[in-house]
Subunit: 378 residues, 2 copies
């Protein structure tokens, strides 16, 4: 189907841009001499994951067991489930391993390690488990120098659980916006994770994998000595948050929401769209950044940004487009954007916006679109 015949709202993937983003990241990882394990939580879409693997990725990272199940069923075997395992999910994880999936789990506490060891003993099974390392204090993980690191290593090792490596995610990189700060955080992430691996090895535990990553640090690391693999997710589509962080240009953003003008409030210079927060998500990730894009940056149907406008507000199925600060309106709204006009909105956060849709419409260079299914739920 052609773009202008799609029902709205619809999630569009600009395939040439996506492929360029995939090639850029993979080339960088190849040059740094590390494997690359894309985080598929961004897209949850088989066509995208196949493109990532075809470009040279080694395995995938998932955020839910459902992702692991769906992609394993599609033939992907090397899977890291990068969220500390809830004990009640262990039977589901074991079922995947018993079907041949090389599923790796993550823990970051003695409590979780004890539960995994106990389950393995009861089931006469084992898992490969990686320990999550905290290198920037933003969420979970054990700091490289904490006693808990070796304690967890010992619980797993003594419990007959395979200790496969360490992993970290410097998610605070989303709060930065200069190349220098990003490079420094990338080095902090690398050094902390390598240090944790070294401590485990020095204590006599195996620790083969040293896995780091976030899109900003992956694109900012100067060297990755001691690292075996990098993970990143949102780079495949990029978004306005990543633009503000400084790791992509507006022209790299491969996800947009196709929408239709459904009305106006002429006295307020508002254009009403059929893309509200149900389409864009409630993510306001740019609100604390240097450039606040509201709920998204509008573009024409051909993708040209309309930088004089912003999606300033969103109800469930209504979006309000209003003039950006300082913009001069040249003509009446109903002339500039008649009812029925189609626009495309670049999102703040591709992971959140994509999740609102049951499918993408993949837009190729010749203007044709193809449906790419995506799934949701756990």
């Amino acid at each position: 189907m052609k773009l202008d015949t799609l029902d709205t709202p619809a999630a569009l993937v600009d395939v040439p841009r996506m492929n360029r983003n995939i090639e850029r990241m993979q080339a960088r990882m190849n040059a740094l001499g590390v494997r690359f394990r894309p985080h598929v939580k961004t897209t949850k879409c088989l066509e995208v994951v196949r493109a990532q693997l075809a470009a040279g990725a080694n395995g995938i990272t998932v955020s839910t067991l459902k992702e692991a199940e769906v992609f394993f069923a599609a033939g992907v075997t090397d899977i890291l489930y990068a969220v500390s395992i809830a004990p009640s999910k262990l039977p589901r994880a074991l079922a995947l391993r018993q079907r041949g999936c090389d599923l790796k789990l993550v823990v970051d506490s003695a409590g979780a390690a004890v539960e995994v060891a106990r389950f393995c003993a009861a089931q006469r099974a084992t898992f490969e488990v990686w320990i999550e390392v905290d290198t920037d204090g933003h969420r979970s993980g054990i700091s490289p120098e904490q006693d808990a690191l070796l304690e967890v290593g010992r619980i797993l090792h003594d419990g007959g659980v395979g200790l496969g490596g360490v992993m970290t995610h410097a998610g605070s990189s989303y709060e930065l916006h200069t190349p220098e700060a990003l490079a420094a955080l990338a080095e902090q992430e690398r050094a902390g994770c390598v240090r944790a691996a070294q401590r485990l090895r020095d204590a006599g535990f195996p620790c083969e994998a040293v896995s780091v990553g976030s899109t900003p640090t992956a694109l900012s690391a100067g060297k990755l000595d001691g690292v075996s693999e990098v993970r990143a997710g949102v780079y495949v589509f990029f978004d306005l948050v990543m633009h503000n962080v400084g790791v992509c240009s507006i022209d790299d953003i491969a996800l947009s929401v196709l929408t239709t003008v459904i009305g106006h409030q002429p006295e307020k210079d508002w254009v009403i769209l059929d893309a509200g927060w149900m389409a864009m998500s409630r993510d306001r990730g740019t609100s604390k950044q240097m450039h606040d894009f509201g709920y998204g940056l509008p573009c024409g149907l051909d993708g040209t940004p309309l930088t004089d406008w912003v999606l300033s507000s969103a109800n469930q199925e209504h979006g309000i487009l209003s003039p950006a600060q300082g913009a001069q309106l040249g003509e009446p709204l109903a002339t500039r954007f008649p009812v029925g006009t189609k626009l495309r909105i670049l999102p703040n956060h591709a992971c959140a916006t994509g999740a609102q849709f049951p499918e993408y419409h993949a837009l190729s260079a010749d203007g044709e679109t193809t449906v790419w299914s995506r799934f949701h739920g756990w």
Copy 2:
């Protein structure tokens, strides 16, 4: 299944609370002498809609044509699609009418009215169209005194389109929090919509339906003279935003997210959960209200609120529970909330949180759960 055997995160519906909410609203509408047309965008779930209709509702309101299609297929015929129609959606709307659905459309501009009239002429078809009236300036609609109201009426009427009524939604009620202000806005909503209907009738146009509503105004209106029906959506589950508005208590909130403790950061007093923004949504609707509940209010598995805690931060699949301001921690985190502990989180906004899940788990008074499917997409 019992609650403690469900995989997490999961969306729970407390069925006794939901039924109480449905009965409360319907009894109020009956007492006020108006019909009630629930907005099903909140739940997109057949079991919930059946309960609303069984309690006495007359027809439903939808926010997407997909909702209309799904509920019409399930036997609901009286449907108001309460978003100004995009011209490209007219063929889909017509298909529903031709299959016997009493689908009513909405427009709020001459541009949209012209498109509907043109389509009807080309297809030798007609629609019933209601005009959206703006009674509080928060989004779309035509103000009752504007010339555009009669202009749109004339375009529809002269174009052979059935002018079925007027409708308004005082969505700014979400910003209020006193009974007096809510009652005043409810009266403003009523009076404005009735006035618009009167102007249309005075000009010789038919205008049977006078439809008003939002959950806060529906629960605050003192009289509804001249109104034929009321619409409301979120009342069926309520949420923390509605609690802050003052139209429900915490004990009325029927939707919660079941989650599991997956780790701790003891030095920061953080408990890490497997409910992040993918489960809760990014909705931070309480952030500008009197009580900011972060990403949600945690409760024990039995539903007892843990008011000393707040879901203060959320990544995609990680939630961070931290002490509420001023709270005193009595015991170590790993003792208070061991890994594997299950909690329930009350959401800021039930419409947004529900949309993150492919299904609800309906929890009955005896502690058993049943799967209720919900759909997403357009």
